[in-house]
């Protein structure tokens, strides 16, 4: 009862409440995080995790409540105050200036004087030191927009360390990382922890919680429902606390029963608008009734592959759908013509491609299918009533919450947004479904549902091409796995005959079994 109890927690929140207009994002939340620990926070989409952390970082102002740092009540009216209190935060959506260099991003707001030169020089030196100390190597002169997400995240962490943060908050840091990058991140976090820094980690991935955290809190609908020691809980237990019901953490599916070839790709090459060859001659077949998963680190040509198949990028080579050659020149094809041929496409990025965030749900359900006769009265007028009705039904079948077709897409949580896209594409009954990153940023309750839907479509005898950076997802969902690296397919594996380690090596461009 002595010493350990008296040491003040690094962070203590008391009775934090926050409302956005009518939405109560945080309700009377209290929590303590001990110094030198990694504390996990989990919760469904929209549970209020990001809001709580943003309050701690001074980005939002709490309506009521108190913050204590190292036992001292501290007012955090803005991020400046948070930074001086030793808090650093890596946001879910990075706060980086895209066309700035790494160095510029790091010194921004932490300059030493009114001239840049000395600041940059000093930062360069410190950066070198930091990156060696923590394995956080990045090119200080690279532009952010040319960096992979993993590297961008390193920049965010370096930013916090450069400002001498003792408390580091990471909001869904692994949503966009490869398993390798995630492991790397966790090594860094553990290193930081060993130095006595305190870390708060928000994630949807229970595996990560179990792996790296010391304690974990669960949030539901704006409230903190539980805080437990990680060693005293299990993934199933956490999932249940989070969602309020039992969740199946493994994908439940029967063995595949593949039929004819639906998609045949031969020697496909894609050159992007900067003249860089992104896909360098790949061959791939997808059969009816099977899910082919493409694993790989983001940026190795998967996105371009999906774009070509989706009809809005040019390529050379040959792609056949049900034995019929597709136009790859872009002259006679676009997203619309591909859909008419029976290719549905759940794009990787729901915010910039899959959805129009300011459109209402029903308008998004017609998105890409605006020319469908069922959605149109005649050659000119759309049949909005029919779309609304269809949306209502889709929302019920796919359990989109809230099931209000008139709500703007941006008002749905990530998981529910994804369900809208999925409902739209799956219910088209396509011959081929292209799915990119189906569960990025989605909470586990929704993941379970999305996976079930994809499997169900397969069981109807449809061909599915799945692209994901989540190895776990690929392993659980795919019937056959192709690994892409640098525009090539490094090899194909069957899920039950391989493991994360082998796939990880392939993703890194190492093909041991190739000989």
């Amino acid at each position: 009862m002595g010493r350990q109890e008296t040491a003040a927690p690094a962070i203590e929140l008391r009775g934090i409440s926050k409302a956005f207009g009518p939405v109560q994002a945080n309700k009377d939340i209290s929590i303590k995080v001990a110094k030198g620990t990694i504390h996990g926070i989990i919760g469904e989409n929209g549970a209020g995790k990001s809001t709580l952390m943003s309050i701690l970082y001074g980005f939002y102002k709490a309506d009521s409540g108190e913050i204590l740092i190292n036992g001292i009540p501290t007012a955090i009216p803005d991020s400046q105050a948070a930074i001086s209190a030793g808090i650093g935060m890596v946001f879910q959506h990075f706060k980086l200036v895209e066309n700035f260099t790494v160095l510029e991003n790091i010194v921004l707001g932490a300059e030493d004087g009114s001239l840049l030169k000395p600041s940059l020089a000093k930062a360069r030196k410190l950066l070198k030191q930091l990156s060696e100390e923590y394995e956080l190597r990045v090119d200080p002169d690279a532009r952010i927009e040319n960096l992979s997400v993993g590297h961008q995240q390193r920049v965010e962490i370096l930013k916090a360390l450069y400002r001498k943060a003792d408390i580091l908050i990471l909001d869904e840091p692994t949503g966009v990382l490869t398993p390798d990058e995630a492991d790397h991140l966790f090594r860094i976090l553990k290193g930081l922890k060993d130095e006595g820094k305190t870390i708060i980690l928000i994630t949807h991935k229970l595996r990560e919680i179990m792996e790296v955290t010391d304690t974990v809190s669960v949030m539901r609908r704006g409230e903190m429902t539980a805080t437990v020691k990680t060693s005293e809980t299990s993934p199933e237990d956490l999932a249940e606390r989070m969602v309020g019901r039992k969740v199946l953490l493994r994908v439940d599916k029967k063995p595949a029963n593949p039929g004819r070839n639906v998609l045949e790709i031969k020697n496909l090459r894609v050159v992007d608008d900067k003249g860089v060859e992104r896909v360098k001659g790949i061959d791939l077949t997808v059969r009816a009734g099977e899910i082919v998963g493409i694993a790989g680190v983001a940026g190795n040509g998967q996105s371009e592959l999906l774009e070509v198949l989706g009809g809005y990028a040019k390529a050379t080579g040959s792609v056949k759908l049900n034995g019929v050659e597709l136009d790859l020149t872009g002259k006679h094809s676009d997203g619309k013509s591909r859909r008419e041929k029976g290719i549905a496409h759940v794009p990787e990025d729901r915010h910039s491609e899959g959805l129009i965030l300011d459109f209402q749900a029903w308008e998004n359900v017609a998105f890409g299918y605006q020319d469908d006769p069922r959605y149109n009265r005649n050659a000119i007028l759309m049949d909005n009533a029919a779309i609304l009705k269809d949306t209502q039904e889709k929302m019920e079948r796919f359990d989109v919450r809230p099931p209000n077709p008139r709500l703007a897409a941006k008002s749905f949580s990530g998981g529910n947004q994804q369900k809208i896209v999925l409902a739209r594409e799956i219910e088209r009954n396509p011959d081929l479904l292209l799915v990119g990153q189906p569960t990025r940023g989605v909470d586990i309750g929704a993941i379970e549902f999305i996976h079930q839907q994809i499997v169900a479509l397969r069981d109807q005898g449809k061909a599915i091409l799945l692209v994901s950076v989540e190895l776990e997802e690929i392993l659980g969902l795919a019937d056959r796995i192709a690994v892409m690296f640098d525009g090539h397919i490094m090899g194909e594996r069957l899920p039950h005959q391989t493991n994360e380690k082998e796939l990880g090596l392939l993703m890194a461009g190492v093909n041991e079994g190739a000989a």
Binding site: G335, I356, F367, M382
Partner: protein
């Protein structure tokens, strides 16, 4: 847990904003030594008090509906068309050529032809900036500004050197044939026993403008094309994913926009002046920007904003007529109205929203 009720959003806030604008205008009027109360009475009386005033108000309103819709269509595709002025100028040329080319027997024939002429010429004038934006990435704001100047030069040249009647001092075409005369409200309403002022310039173009408002609504929210325009305007990358061609939509949206601006000419050129004169657009293209922005690119909003500006124009004229108030003061009032109802909207909205929220909570 209720948000602000809709009536407060669409009626109360604009009303408060407008009152503020007029309050400040009143102070300005008072500052230059006139009676603000008399001024406002003169304005309202002069623009809505009788059928003459109303006829003028609606005449201006008609112009602003066309140019406001022109800006609004382009805005839905996230294109900022500040070329309404030039497009309306060239549209006037189209209308004039149509009206002068044929000895029209009756307006029922002349009007559709003039509509076509105005819209086509206006659209053509928007076509080059549209093409350059879609295909070459030239910024539409620059090109449309440039095309305003070029249109003025073109019209000046044509009127002075080609279309002008010999012996006429003014650079203008001859008057249109009587068959191209559009019925004014007086003529339109006489059969119904309504005696509308004979000389007010409001004419059947107003009804065309109303049809355009409805057409605009249908186009933007009920048709596939409108859907594509809005989708493209919201997100180009998403539009590409959905198979909507950015090039095509950019060009189509600008053609419609230019066509609407050009259509304005059936009101000012064919309906009012009945001949083509220099500078007949008189800045209506620029007012259209304010109208579209204040009307939130929605036809009801555009209509109300156009009416507001029609009122300011006509009321301003009356003010100048009877109160000897310099016309620039009217410009100041217009500026204040735009500023308060358009740009400083949140000054009133935010506190009001809070107020309603706390009421809502009290009830819950």
């Amino acid at each position: 847990m209720k948000k602000m009720p809709k009536w407060a959003d669409v009626l109360l806030i604009p009303a408060i904003n407008l009152s503020l604008a007029f309050l400040i205008s009143g102070l300005v009027i008072w500052a230059i030594g006139k009676d603000p109360w008399v001024a406002i009475k003169t304005m309202v009386q002069g623009s809505f008090g009788d059928s003459r005033g109303l006829g003028y108000t609606l005449y201006y309103t008609t112009n602003f509906i066309f140019t406001g819709l022109a800006v609004a269509v382009a805005s839905h595709a996230r294109l900022f068309n500040i070329g309404g002025e030039g497009q309306a100028t060239v549209g006037g040329l189209g209308v004039a050529l149509v009206c002068l080319a044929v000895p029209w027997p009756h307006w029922t024939l002349a009007l559709p032809a003039a509509i076509l002429g105005g819209a086509l010429f206006g659209a053509a004038w928007a076509a080059i900036p549209a093409y350059l934006q879609a295909k070459r990435g030239s910024h539409i704001v620059i090109t449309t500004i440039m095309f305003n100047f070029i249109a003025a030069a073109l019209l000046g040249y044509l009127l002075v050197n080609v279309l002008k009647e010999p012996g006429n001092m003014a650079a203008e075409t001859r008057s249109f044939p009587p068959g191209a005369h559009l019925p004014t409200f007086h003529e339109m309403l006489a059969p119904f026993g309504i005696d509308f002022n004979k000389n007010a310039p409001a004419n059947i173009s107003f009804l065309v403008a109303l049809l355009c408002l409805i057409g605009f609504y249908v186009l933007i929210w009920k048709t596939r094309l409108g859907y594509a325009i809005r989708a493209f305007g919201q997100s180009e990358s998403a539009a590409v994913y959905a198979g909507i061609s950015p090039v095509k939509i950019t060009i189509i949206a600008m053609l419609i926009s230019g066509g609407l601006a050009g259509l304005m000419a059936i009101n000012n050129v064919m309906g009012e002046a009945e001949r083509l004169i220099l500078n007949s657009v008189e800045g209506a293209g620029f007012i259209g920007i304010a109208v579209a922005l204040m009307g939130r690119n929605h036809p009801v909003g555009v209509f109300l904003a156009a009416l507001l500006f029609g009122f300011l124009y006509q009321g301003g004229a009356e003010l100048a007529l009877w109160e000897s108030i310099p016309r620039e003061l009217i410009v100041v009032i217009q500026g204040l109205v735009i500023l308060l109802t358009g740009a400083l909207d949140n000054m009133v909205r935010a506190p009001l929203e809070k107020l309603f929220l706390s009421f809502g909570k009290g009830e819950a």
